[in-house]
Symmetry: none
Subunit: 190 residues, 4 copies
DNA sequence: CATGAATGAGCTTTCATTCAT
DNA sequence: AATGAATGAAAGCTCATTCAT
């Protein structure tokens, strides 16, 4: 019986469960009981791993950041900056059904946290910055002086269209916008 | 003491208060007591005007739609489609401090409602659709076959950059993106 | 415009509406708003006719008593005491569907009022006593010394079987018991 | 300090408290705060044991059914069906003061539940049926073909006279009716 | 007499957090 | 480390009653 491993497993399970439930229901509507149930961890035990609900939310943000670092590694296998940008944008299309159903996990979470007045306020930044940086790098590699601006524009287009698709319940909006973005990327000097 | 006006005034005050508090705190974190306090109406009295909290939220959505209809009228005073699009985009810059502080009122509200499973789910659509239609019309007036696609792209860019600006707390993101969008509009055939 | 008549009409309508709603939902679950709506009287206006909700309930009890006095008059058209008792019992079978659906209006109201600690406590007595007296008279006319006891027994059997029929949702219980009671009445000396 | 016993004890205490308060005040007038106070349990804690107030009411019904099963066992110690019927009827006289004060706990509860439109509607049946069955068995043991009818009649007489006694505040009605029923039982073939 | 509006006390229910073991 | 149970503050909502006109 790997004790420590079991503990780590529980912690991980809790973060995954929180990630899923918060994506589906939002932070406020998701109770610790919900999360504990999904993670199959007794409610009282959650507090051994996380001092407060907020700490668990913070852990979810960390988890997202790690995910995006993983994406970064994948992108590096692409030969050109354009290919990397298009690959970045294309991961969208793959998940478009989920995104249309419940919005962007990071975007909607950030949006919710932006309304708060506590330490969590604006903590979505640690994740979204990573994404923007990722795009910015590629634009810079393309020799653009406005790389940061374009990085912001790309991620903004992503977050914006997912919000629209989710609200209008039209997954097609995502496909169309992704195609548009890919064409735009192709027009960039390289 | 205007009789009817007082009643109508209260209803209006409640909607305005709800609008403000929901923008600042989100639907879930905003209590009826919060709203009632801001509107200077006794809590119990809220229910004379709105059967449930949800009904009040729905009224807020209606209020936004009416606001946007007002914008539509303003835009009509612009001479060309391009001018109208740029005017649309420019209202953003004016409010950028507020948007950076608390996000787009409609966007964040829609984002929150998208997580729900009740009648309010997706009700942000009635407002966002109005906005998209507004943009689409102008693109169509410019003779674009992809008017709808461009309308979606424009509003998505707007919602997206406000989300980023709000999360990163950088009002500058909005100014930069708006400038970029204006330049883009200028490049369109007219 | 018969002013007084209109007023009387409203009062009557309120009592009828209260009677119906209280039979259907019980005193506690029936709101003044419910009653006012059925009676088509503005809520605020109810208080012109009845000082409190309890006063309206008291008026309902009075109405029931008057109804039962009406029944008394009808019974007098029967030739013999037995015929009168059987007629009394037979009015049950006629309304058995309603009774099975919502219980005896007087019985269930009395039952509810018996739980109270205010002036309404036990006020069902004014109605139920009338009923018992009605039966008792007939038994006395039959020369029974135990007329009161039999009167109580008859009304108890009535109230009891309606309660059972209503709870078990078996209208048949009423028919069967009524037949049994009629046979019993026939066996009495006369 | 018995661990499991303490939890079970609380649940039981809550049911007993609910039983008592509901008998005294009715379901609608009895608040969870009332029940919690009597059971000496914090209000919030009630929801650890019962998901809703209705669930607690359902538990009270179950408790009554178990009580009546206990009575059934006691009756079995009587030698003849008549003796069992009379024993059944006699438990009434013993509690007549309480019954006169607040009505039959099961009867008045059933009466109140019959007015509802939810899952609790008619749930008094599970208890009253048990009682009827108990009587029916004895009548059948006496060789009566109309055992069911007589069982219903006996329980109806019981419920009815308790209602009358409670409303008229005459405990004597119960004694008299019980005596009458005992005499009637004696006349039955056996 | 009539009435829409107002009021506030009170109810059920939820939930993050804590605690005893 | 683990956990069922406990806690209490706060939420949304209802409603008899009152009031201004």
């Amino acid at each position: 019986m790997p004790l420590a491993a079991e503990g780590a497993g529980k912690r991980e399970r809790l973060v995954m469960a929180a990630r899923r439930m918060i994506h589906e229901q939002g932070v406020e509507k998701t109770t610790l009981a919900d999360i504990a149930a999904v993670a199959e961890v007794p409610v009282g035990n959650v507090y051994y791993y996380f001092k407060t609900k907020d700490a668990l939310v913070a852990a979810v943000l960390d988890a997202y950041q790690n995910s995006y670092r993983g994406i970064s590694a994948e992108l590096d296998r692409q030969p050109t900056p354009q290919a990397r940008l298009k690959a970045l944008v294309r991961v969208l299309t793959e998940r478009r059904e989920l995104l249309t159903a419940r919005g962007c996990p990071v975007g909607s979470l950030s949006s919710e946290l932006d309304k708060r007045d506590d330490e969590l306020r604006g903590q979505g930044a640690i994740v979204l910055s990573t994404l923007i940086d990722l795009a910015e790098e590629q634009f810079r590699a393309l020799g653009r002086d406005d790389a940061r601006e374009l990085g912001v524009a790309l991620i903004a287009a992503y977050e914006g269209v997912v919000l629209l698709a989710s609200t209008l319940r039209e997954a097609g909006l995502i496909s169309t916008e992704v195609a548009r973005l890919e064409r735009w990327i192709d027009t960039l000097a390289g």
